[in-house]
């Protein structure tokens, strides 16, 4: 049998319990806040500048690293202006997922899609693999090939299982970005 405790004392003993609860809350909130990126880190993450762009870079996507939906596509500051000669293998139009570059992406040779910085079409989306897919022009036409990406390359509603020759007007998706292929 526990000793009798007066009700008056018990009434005031509820405060230490409440205080403990709020100490827990304060600690947890501070830990959560310290795990958030600082404004400086956030700025550095959103504009991965400083790295000189490879000279082959015709376009590059920069933008929200998380969703990818608000990504914008713009010419990298250091890259030379796109060659003026007409593309031999047609062009890609961006129809969703990033702000399309004027005139689309010309296909002059093989094009690599991915998150890595050495990709001519860089898509900073966590759902895009480092080297995600590639377009290879050949005598038969332009072939789209998935490079074993985790979330796949999608031709229309179908996941790409093997390389496919693109027809005029086909659209395909890498991550959240959707492209349409034009032969001319």
């Amino acid at each position: 049998m526990t000793p009798e405790v007066s009700e008056g004392l018990l009434y005031f003993l509820k405060y230490p319990l409440l205080i403990l609860l709020y100490v827990f809350l304060a600690c947890a909130l501070r830990m959560m806040a310290s795990a958030l990126p600082t404004p400086k880190e956030l700025a550095a993450r959103q504009a991965p500048a400083g790295r000189p762009a490879p000279s082959t870079l015709p376009v590059r996507a920069v933008g929200s690293p998380r969703t990818g939906t608000s990504a914008s596509l713009e010419a990298a500051p250091e890259s030379p202006p796109p060659p003026a000669r007409p593309p031999e293998w047609g062009r890609l139009e961006v129809i969703a997922g990033m702000d399309p570059p004027v005139g689309g992406i010309p296909i002059h040779g093989a094009l690599l899609f991915g998150r890595a910085s050495d990709c001519p079409v860089q898509i900073p989306d966590p759902f895009v693999s480092s080297h995600h897919a590639r377009l290879v022009p050949g005598s038969e036409g332009v072939v789209l090939e998935d490079l074993g990406s985790r979330n796949g390359t999608w031709l229309g509603p179908e996941r790409l299982e093997s390389p496919v020759r693109l027809q005029d007007g086909d659209h395909f998706a890498v991550g959240d970005v959707t492209f349409r292929y034009h032969r001319t």
Binding site: L10, L18, L21, L25, C27, W154, A173
Partner: protein, 425 residues
């Protein structure tokens, strides 16, 4: 401060709250001669520390706050359950709840230790869907009826509530299904082709039918709300289609209106919600008692064991939030809501850091599940929404919900562990 030390600080605070609370509750209940709380407290603390140690040792980079936050909710919930036990004539309630918490932590540990990758769950999506539907149908046909609702199976001495497991199965199915067809849903509709969004409409129709079916056949308003909320949230998270979500919400509105006019039990529920004091001794009894309890709690509460939360029917399960608000006051209740908020925020963080689409959708789905469930239940007990019979995650008395919630926590933890490891590729 390293993550491990942060976790240690949080766990120490949880232990202090549990020990102090147990002492206060025992003293506050002295006239009722309650059973000693200490064996149960020892069992719970042992389980918590083993669970925390294992998760801290195994998961480098895994989320270190999920487990401490959940254990705080469990502790506070246990204190109220222990305190209510002697007052409602079943003094062993606290001991049983302590056992369920320990078993729940066991499920969490199991989820940590199972070898393999959580992504294999994706291959079992139709199995999950089928199991879920079968469990729901089976409980409708063969379940034990309690308080006019068939929601339980009686297995030996315990009652098993399959809904708790079905919710998680449903999240797994939706995450896998939406992962597969997300692009399709996004691309194919109202786009240049002018095709009808058949698959999206099929999916939304399915969710709508499931929610209405639960409402009509099982008379389970809370589950129907939860199912539909979960469904719409996940659909929106994966596709970003506002128009279809709005369409589905409108359909749900029409469905609710029809149900209100067709079925008596829905009208009774809504009536008890909108105006409990018109029938304070009948249909509105629970709600009006709950409002009295909230009012008498005031800002800082009556103190553990000093209030009269046992006057509210079902205070230890559905209305545990009201019992808490009476004895811990508005300060305690708001603090607890903040803990829920942090838990959900951390779960969304896990979703954002997950390396693959399935992991993101699964974690976000589990986060919305906890969020909706808390929202619906707390809203129901403070007269913001119709009163419903679902449990408050980690707090309400009940074995099925405790085990299921720790399973959910374990899955989240697994996703966070993989997400951090493979983030650098």
């Amino acid at each position: 401060m390293s993550e491990r030390r942060s976790g240690l600080v949080l766990m120490a605070l949880v232990s202090a709250i549990l020990v102090l609370g147990a002492a206060l509750a025992q003293a506050g209940l002295q006239r009722l001669e309650p059973p000693s709380p200490w064996p149960s407290v020892g069992l719970i603390l042992g389980a918590f520390w083993i669970g925390w140690l294992l998760s801290a040792l195994r998961g480098r980079g895994a989320d270190f706050m999920l487990f401490p936050l959940a254990s705080l909710l469990c502790s506070v919930g246990w204190l109220e359950v222990y305190r209510l036990g002697p007052a409602i004539g079943s003094p062993a309630l606290g001991e049983r709840q302590a056992l369920w918490i320990a078993l729940g932590v066991g499920v969490f540990i199991l989820a940590l230790l199972v070898p393999g990758d959580y992504r294999t769950l994706e291959d079992y999506k139709y199995t999950c869907l089928l199991t879920g539907i079968l469990l729901q149908v089976a409980v409708m046909l063969f379940g034990t009826e309690i308080n006019g609702a068939r929601l339980w199976f009686e297995i030996g001495p315990v009652l098993f509530q399959p809904v708790e497991v079905v919710k998680i199965l449903l999240v797994v199915f939706l995450a896998a299904f939406l992962r597969q067809f997300r692009h399709w849903i996004r691309l194919g509709l109202l786009s240049a082709e002018g095709r009808l969004p058949r698959r999206a409409l099929f999916l939304l129709g399915l969710g709508w039918a499931a929610a209405e079916g639960v409402l009509v056949l099982q008379k389970d308003l809370g589950m129907a709300l939860l199912l539909f909320g979960l469904f719409l949230s996940m659909f929106f998270l994966s596709t970003g289609r506002r128009d279809l979500v709005a369409l589905a919400a409108m359909l749900a509105g029409v469905g609710s209106w029809v149900c209100y006019h067709l079925f008596g039990h829905v009208r009774v529920r809504v009536g008890a919600w909108l105006d409990p004091f018109s029938d304070p001794h009948g249909q509105g009894y629970q709600m009006s008692q709950a409002l009295y309890a909230l009012a008498s709690g005031g800002l800082d509460g009556s103190g553990l064991g000093m209030g009269r939360p046992f006057l509210v029917p079902e205070a230890y399960t559905d209305f545990i939030f009201v019992a808490l608000a009476e004895e811990w006051g508005m300060l305690g209740a708001l603090g607890l809501l903040m803990v829920y908020m942090m838990l959900v925020t951390r779960a969304f963080r896990v979703a954002l850091a997950a390396g693959d689409e399935f992991g993101t959708l699964l974690a976000a789905g589990l986060a919305t599940l906890v969020a909706w469930q808390t929202l619906i239940l707390v809203g129901g007990t403070v007269q913001l929404a119709p009163m419903t019979g679902i449990t408050l995650p980690f707090m309400s008395y009940g074995g099925s919900s405790m085990l299921a919630n720790f399973l959910l926590l374990g899955i989240l933890w697994r996703i966070s562990a993989v997400g951090e490891v493979s983030g650098g590729d």
